[in-house]
């Protein structure tokens, strides 16, 4: 059991899956010889050859469109979109094709496909290297949407996504690639080396999609988070000294409603945190579900702490990023009444 960064864990998931199943093929922009701009596929071309891991032209549409054809043939493509901000050129193939193929053909054709992409800000990437478009994927029937928050989960969930018989959108919080980040951008950078979730088996393993994980037990208020926001939530909880229960959703669709509901029914208070813009973000769906399933347990309104309804700015990045201070204030508000 060695420590891995999230990058190494993702690379290892590819490696184990390609080792086990030669139907698994990996491609995307710069993923072949170079191993990806974030190095998540480094060494795979050398090990598995140019026809199982290769560079693609700069066409997200072509990447996803050809991958759907490969999946229909019987391969298990796992493709990379360099940044989630660049997935939109492929949106039609994802929404109209990958998501609907099994249903519209009554299972005659299926689409076991993984589309990986880095999400989130905190690297001064501005509006075109920082977006978190998870909500729009969860609105599309036929897609599964996953966002791990640590190396251990990343490897296990990616392996499961590759084995899944249906298309999976696999979102990687780029700010977590090299260490847990809690929003304190001035603090020294933390590393996965000294974090439990940085311990990752070399060998293959898979974690079930659709299961949330309680990261911190608490009684006063429930925080629903995923990706980078899990650590922001932890920071906010410990810094306010509020006994918050933190649920890391891990998979947004299918959603682990049970875990969410039982936590909110216990605490009676809920704060939802995500980095994406507020309006029609995934927090809206969570709030709608919770008020439906926990209505008579809720002591106070559910709050959403999210990115603002603006493009992700460059210089004002830390004013946009929902950090521990904002989450902390929300926790306090949650306890006021």
């Amino acid at each position: 059991m060695s420590h891995m960064t999230m990058i190494e864990a993702i690379r290892s998931a590819h490696d184990c899956s390609m080792e086990r199943d030669d139907r698994v093929v990996v491609f995307g922009q710069d993923v072949g010889y170079f191993g990806g701009v974030f190095r998540c596929t480094s060494g795979l071309q050398e090990k598995y050859g140019k026809t199982r891991c290769f560079d693609s032209p700069i066409s997200e549409l072509g990447i996803v469109g050809t991958a759907i054809g490969m999946a229909a043939y019987g391969l298990r493509p796992c493709v990379e979109v360099q940044f989630a901000d660049y997935v939109y050129p492929a949106f039609d193939q994802i929404v109209s094709e990958a998501a609907r193929l099994r249903h519209r053909s009554a299972g005659d054709f299926t689409c076991p496909l993984v589309i990986r992409m880095p999400v989130g800000g905190g690297i001064f990437g501005g509006q075109t290297h920082s977006q978190s478009p998870e909500a729009i994927f969860t609105h599309v029937s036929g897609l599964k949407t996953v966002m791990p928050s640590n190396p251990y989960d990343a490897k296990g969930l990616l392996a499961a996504a590759i084995e899944d018989p249906d298309p999976v959108i696999f979102l990687e919080p780029k700010r977590l690639y090299n260490g847990p980040f809690d929003g304190h951008h001035d603090a020294p950078i933390a590393s996965w080396r000294n974090h439990d979730a940085g311990k990752v088996p070399e060998d293959y393993y898979a974690l079930p999609l659709g299961k949330a994980e309680v990261r911190r037990d608490g009684t006063q208020v429930t925080i629903l988070a995923y990706g980078t926001m899990v650590y922001v939530a932890e920071a906010a909880a410990s810094e306010t000294g509020i006994d918050a229960e933190i649920v890391d959703l891990r998979t947004l669709l299918p959603l682990d409603l049970e875990t969410i509901v039982s936590s909110v029914q216990k605490t009676g208070r809920c704060v939802i945190v995500h980095e994406a813009t507020l309006t029609s973000g995934f927090g809206a769906e969570l709030a709608a579900l919770i008020q439906q399933h926990c209505f008579y347990h809720l002591e106070v309104p559910i709050q959403r702490v999210t990115g603002w309804d603006t493009p992700y700015p460059h210089a004002q990045e830390w004013d946009y990023f929902p950090g521990p201070a904002r989450v902390g204030r929300a926790l306090q508000t949650a306890l006021e009444n």
């Binding site: 026809t51 050809t66 054809g69």
Partner: protein, 410 residues
């Protein structure tokens, strides 16, 4: 002409509109047999001219002439003729059924039956078509049960896709027929991906992509060309240029290009242009392109010059945007008539046999229709269950869909 001095926008339009006399004088039709037939491993550059010509085999008086003269035997040609006749008879019955309210919608292949029917005869079991909605000939040429097509069109209880999609959105994997999408051109890059997968797997199967003239403007056309060119995918990319895209004439999609076929040159893809109403020419060019793909020589782009003789769909009235008589004026004639004439000239067919064939086929179609309608139509019989609507969104139904299904009362 600009109103003031200065630039002005050029907006192409067809020479003629309803009320005008049809005019195809701009459509250049070389004589049958003129176009050369290169080796399949020739450099694209060396066969450039074939993207600007029209490869034709059937002469005016019905002889098969020139280097592309088909290798098909008489029986295969007779099969081809019967397949085309079946498509036409099937189409007409289904349009009628739609008018009678038995289904919601239908689209015919009228006038372009040769393209799909002749191409299919060049394919092998295991190859995969990625068709549009105008290639039912691919299935009918394989004796796919007409009743199954009708069950889909009627969305009845035995619809292979459970009433989930509009009429004619067939899916038939065992017949090398990919699930049709209502979103134009998406199948084009998928075909390339399927072909790449076959090559990655060192398989022998090839893929065939289909697209209409209008739909070549879509993003996936470019993606397909780029990926096919870069990875030399074993795929045949077919453009069916039937002159119209709903109310829009082909000039809007083609712009200043000489031909659609010539789009292949910028990708180093061998490109050919063929008389789409000439069964022999289509089959011969298809065979050439499929051999290229099978020999791992890479993709081929083919433009079929044909004419959409009917409306775009049962929702469309072409009389609103093109001369009623345009179809009759189409210089490449009718694919069924032309093959019939050839076979009669060959002495292997006759008016008499043609008439009999027509009656047989008509009977076949009518019987299939009766049987299918006994199962049900959109307005009769028991429709596919609403419960089924929730199935197959995922292989395994997740909790939220089970909840919704129960809320729906199933």
């Amino acid at each position: 002409m600009p109103k003031k001095s200065g630039l002005s926008l050029h907006v192409p339009s067809p020479g003629v509109r309803p009320g005008d006399a049809p005019d195809f004088s701009e459509v250049e039709i070389p004589k049958a047999g003129e176009a050369g037939r290169p080796e399949v491993d020739v450099e694209p550059e060396a066969m450039r001219d074939l993207a600007f010509s029209v490869i034709r085999v059937l002469s005016k008086d019905g002889d098969a002439v020139g280097p592309w003269a088909s290798s098909l035997g008489d029986d295969e040609l007779i099969d081809g003729l019967r397949n085309m006749m079946t498509v036409r008879s099937f189409d007409n019955r289904m349009v009628l059924a739609q008018r009678q309210g038995k289904t919601s919608f239908y689209m015919k292949s009228a006038g372009e039956e040769a393209v799909a029917c002749a191409f299919q005869q060049a394919l092998r079991k295991g190859d995969m078509n990625f068709p549009t909605y105008r290639q039912v000939g691919l299935l009918i040429s394989q004796q796919y049960p007409l009743i199954k097509l009708m069950n889909q069109i009627y969305s009845n209880e035995q619809d292979p896709i459970h009433g989930r999609q509009m009429p004619i959105m067939y899916s038939a994997k065992d017949y090398g027929f990919f699930s049709i999408s209502g979103n134009l051109t998406t199948q084009f890059s998928q075909a390339v991906g399927w072909a790449m997968a076959s090559a990655i797997s060192n398989d022998k199967k090839i893929a065939v992509g289909w697209v209409g003239d209008g739909a070549t403007a879509e993003n996936d056309f470019h993606a397909a060309m780029v990926f096919a060119s870069t990875y030399r995918a074993p795929v045949v990319l077919n453009i069916v240029n039937n002159q119209w895209a709903i109310s829009t004439f082909q000039g809007i999609a083609k712009g200043g290009a000489a031909t659609f076929a010539s789009r292949g040159h910028g990708f180093g893809i061998p490109s050919l242009r063929v008389d789409g109403n000439d069964f022999l020419a289509v089959h011969s060019v298809a065979t050439w392109a499929c051999e290229r793909a099978r020999r791992n020589l890479g993709p081929t782009l083919i433009e079929y010059v044909t004419y959409r003789a009917g409306g775009h769909s049962t929702s469309d009235d072409p009389g609103a945007y093109r001369p009623k008589e345009e179809g009759d004026a189409w210089p490449l004639g009718d694919p069924i008539l032309r093959l019939k004439t050839h076979l009669i000239k060959q002495g292997v067919w006759s008016e008499q046999r043609h008439l009999e064939a027509e009656q047989e086929i008509e009977a076949q179609v009518v019987n299939a229709q009766k049987a299918s309608e006994e199962i049900g139509t959109l307005i009769s019989g028991s429709p596919p269950s609403a419960r089924d609507m929730f199935e197959g969104v995922f292989e395994e139904m997740p909790a939220h869909l089970i909840r919704q299904r129960q809320e729906a009362g199933y």
